[in-house]
Point group: C2
Chain length 181, copies 2
């Protein structure tokens, strides 16, 4: 048995990382450190839900989800407990290096996280803003606003699957896609 | 030993997928099927290297790299043999669902792949265009043009690391970043 256990160690070290929400003792969410190795869902530029948003300094938003949640969604069209989304917001640049037109990504201006944790949050999901430097965060003060908008407008279970092009056909095939405004 | 071997099977089944270039017998590259599960590097909108590009119908380009190449780059600041990049080009949409401003991603309009395969290609790297439907592709007819531009302007080993914000500091720390025009 000792030999067996030792032989397994290299396998364990290479097994896929499971990313689940981690909290401090006082209930703050720890910033996920490895989210850039999660599954990328989409990127937008200058997206706004409010009218009259300025397009003079548009920002990119990159959306990542945990690999195990992604695999579950591809099979079932739903999000399992412990699903985490990261919205990484970056400033945009133009005319750098050999680029003559359009926009490319630059520095991070904010990181937001949406977590599904049914045992911890009354509405199953909660939202956290880490800004550029915070390592831990409490649910955002406007959590109720986030919740109301996601609940009302998210195509699948409080999430904006209508903006994730690779997930739309999966949710439609599984019958979990809800057409919202 | 039989017990040991059987016990290992579930671990092997979950070990990370290794994505290496696959070719047909006549030397065409097979389209990588699982590139959306690779590592996302960046996304741009309407990027053009030529002057006077139209911004009326800008396209997103999402860049992915194989996980093992990414891990190697994070350690060494260089790309190992068998590195693959996918450039996924998507049309952009506006004012859909609750979105009032900005651009979000829609259908795929083309898939391009850059491969490092030192035993196969005289210049180590080659470029392939799959359009929207092809499952296999020969090196692009303008391979020489791609090669010349990437070779001249890529910050690290024929690749545009200057546009990949998470890789720039790594390459600079490892001394592999070259400042280009």
């Amino acid at each position: 048995m000792p030999l067996f256990a030792l032989s397994l160690l290299p396998m364990l070290a290479q097994s896929p990382q499971v990313s689940e929400p981690q909290y401090t003792q006082d209930g703050q969410l720890r910033k996920p450190e490895n989210y850039r190795e999660w599954i990328f869902l989409t990127s937008g530029l200058g997206m706004s839900y409010g009218a009259g948003a300025s397009a003079s300094n548009p920002r990119f938003d990159n959306v990542f989800v945990t690999p195990q949640a992604y695999r579950s969604f591809m099979t079932n069209g739903t999000w399992p407990d412990k699903t985490m989304f990261v919205l990484e917001v970056r400033s945009s640049s133009s005319e750098g290096s050999i680029n003559k037109a359009g926009h490319f990504q630059s520095d991070i201006t904010g990181i937001e996280v949406e977590v599904k944790d049914t045992a911890r949050f009354p509405n199953k999901w909660a939202f956290f803003g880490f800004g550029t430097n915070a390592q831990t965060a409490r649910p955002t003060p406007d959590n109720a606003g986030c919740q109301a908008c996601h609940s009302k407008n998210g195509a699948v279970d409080n999430t904006f699957v209508q903006f994730y092009p690779t997930l739309i056909p999966v949710a439609k095939a599984k019958g979990t896609f809800r057409t919202t405004p």
